[in-house]
């Protein structure tokens, strides 16, 4: 509909759109621009009366900050491993549900429950399960006479514990997306392939995989970016420890902003992460388009 044709309806256009515009500007654009500006200032909210322009000193510092580099590395490692595990588990679960087992709807409902729990609740539950004194996991290992690591107090096992909790929480989301993709594949493709003597593996590789590649990329992309910014479970389960072995980048920013009150530096780090994730997302969209093109020639 053209603007000129609206006539007196233009009033209603503004009445309907202004609230949404105000919301986006006030709660999205405004804080984002303020964060960008704050990243160029020295501002400790406890001791500085007001932000002080410090000529990109925050960005100079973050380029030298070894702890930030380590945090980014740990976040990347966590994101890749968690995403891979969730895609594998999710694909397996989706494939099983696609075989239409008895009570499928009930199974699907139960399987999706972790996904709707608050991340803090998930962290608390798994932190308790891994607790050396009261947790069921150490107790089960004790009953089976197996070694009993200090799950949350050893660098390697602390990361592993976080990965398990994350996979438990988010594999259902991947399974849901892939299940929908599997359901969309026409059954005739399977029947025709079976008539031609295709085995199960050939069905998966030649029929299923090409048709769900797009959805796998969607699910993996979503989880990768989300897992990279994981915070809730880290705060609850490990606090970034032991040492700094699980101090992911979100935990690093949280500490800068809310424990050290260095809002200027935290804003600079957030800006850097936003730029990096923006580039990563652009590359993801490009490769997603190419992958779809290859899957559907």
């Amino acid at each position: 509909m053209k603007w000129a044709a609206l006539g007196s309806g233009r009033v209603y256009f503004w009445i309907m759109t202004v609230p949404a515009v105000v919301y986006v500007v006030a709660w999205r654009l405004g804080p984002a621009v303020y964060t960008l500006w704050l990243g160029l200032n020295q501002y400790n909210i406890v001791y500085d009366a007001a932000p002080r322009w410090n000529h990109f000193a925050n960005y100079t510092l973050l380029l030298r900050d070894g702890a930030l580099r380590q945090s980014i590395g740990l976040s990347g490692e966590f994101a890749v491993i968690a995403t891979a595990a969730e895609v594998v588990i999710g694909l397996g679960a989706a494939w099983f549900l696609d075989t239409d087992p008895p009570g499928r709807n009930l199974l699907l409902g139960v399987f999706l429950l972790p996904m709707i729990m608050a991340p803090v609740v998930v962290g608390t539950a798994w932190g308790t399960l891994f607790d050396r004194t009261v947790g069921y996991i150490p107790y089960a290992l004790q009953l089976l006479h197996l070694p009993q690591p200090q799950w949350l107090a050893t660098p390697g096992t602390a990361m592993f514990a976080l990965l398990i909790a994350d996979a438990w929480e988010w594999a259902p989301l991947v399974a849901l997306l892939l299940f929908a993709a599997l359901q969309a594949i026409p059954r005739e493709h399977f029947e025709a392939a079976r008539v031609d003597g295709a085995s199960g593996w050939q069905l998966f590789r030649r029929i299923i995989l090409p048709q769900i590649t797009g959805m796998i990329l969607v699910a993996a992309g979503l989880r990768l970016m989300d897992a990279f910014l994981e915070l809730d479970k880290v705060i609850i389960m490990t606090g970034g420890g032991p040492g700094s072995s699980t101090q992911f980048v979100s935990m690093f920013v949280y500490k800068q902003a809310f424990q050290f009150y260095e809002l200027g530096y935290a804003s600079a780090v957030i800006t850097l992460l936003l730029a990096a994730l923006g580039v990563a997302y652009w590359l993801y969209l490009r490769s997603y388009g190419r992958a779809l093109g290859a899957a559907n020639p």
Binding site: R132, T154, P155, G243, S245, Q259, F260, Y261
Partner: protein, 464 residues
Amino acid sequence: MWRQPRYRVVATALAIVLASLLVTGTVSQTSRAQNMTTLTFLGPDFDEWVAFVKVANEIGKPMGIQLKPEYLPWDNVFQKALIDSKSGVRTWDYVYIYNTWVPGLSAAKAVIPIDDFLSSPGATEAVQPKDFISLTTQGLQFNGKLWAMPMLAAPYMMGYRTDVFADPTEKKAFQAKYGYALGVPQTYKQLMDTAQFFTRKAGQTLMGKPLDQDFYGLVMANKSGGFMFHRFEHILVAFGADLIYDPKTMQPTANSPQSLAAVKYYVGLHKYMQPGTETVTGGGAERVMAAGRGAIAMDALDNMLSVLPVAKLSKVVGKIGYAMLPTQVPSRPHANVADANGLAIYALTQHRAEAFKLATAVLSTQGTKQVMKEYPALIPMRASVIRDPEVRTNYGNVFNAMNTFLNGKPYTAFIPPLKEWVQAQDLYEQALSAAMSGQQTPEDALSGAQAKVTDLFKRQGYIK
């Protein structure tokens, strides 16, 4: 449909009725509120502060004052007070304050020093500042002023199993193994020996009886986020080290020989602590002790007193004795770092006079005794309360423990009033955690911490 007259009449009538209800409701609430002044308190959901609010409402009622609390997790209170004061929020009248927060909140002008109220003899008489036990209240002082009404001291002490230590079988075995008599550890070497001696697996015996669960020589809270450093700092000071830096020269001393010795000692002691010590705070650690699974706990006195002697929480009621922390360096006997909690008056309060009046009444000698009735583990910071015969009779645990502490005249250090203290502490704690988990050697961990703290101090202009 809405154009028809009868629907418009009904809709208008409904709107008028609803609006009337809203207005009369608001008016009647205002009328009720006009009889009482409502003060608001921002603090943690700890038993002692719940008790404080209850008593404040009892004492405040005849004064025409009521107190409404807003409880947040402990470490969020500081953030909320800070951000609200910077934003000009006038909601609060009182803010809970911990001694390490005093420099920050005072620099941010978020709270009013109590000294600002002491302009008349009447006000001074109400506060009775000379009644405060300075060993406990000094942590709430900064730049020569008292920044909060002292409420709860939390000296760090040892709680030990009197039955286990008195057992003849255990005494004989200890003497045979270590060559000296079993007793409450007076030195950190004795603490290590005792913790090692009493760390036993299920199936081994304790006091002649087989254990059905593991028993631990030492129970402590070592969760990252300040809890770990808060327990370790007493050992750091006991070993003769600075608290991370030398306040005279502002040079970081994180990897000084004394600091390294303290970390190595703590890493060794860690072997005899309960598993999962890295994931629990004080309450969680005391639950393990209360379950009868530890020989010694090292914690804030009020943490121990709020759990260990409480019948419905503890299996070791009547079996715990309290002693001062051990000594390492003779010039720092029973070294500890002061811990104080208080009630500060929010800088943007709209009820300044009423807030001062109620605070002095509730935290007076009589008021403190009333709070102790609600929360028997309260460690008061007034000498008159400690000396009170009623307290001596009814709160024997508190009286005996505080008497031990005050008579022992321990070496007491205070957290330096450094605005970057939380950052410096976090850097040190990460190094300590890395050493305890085996991620790094103590030497490497502390060297890393020293470099980072030095970098921080240089950036802030303290050193070149």
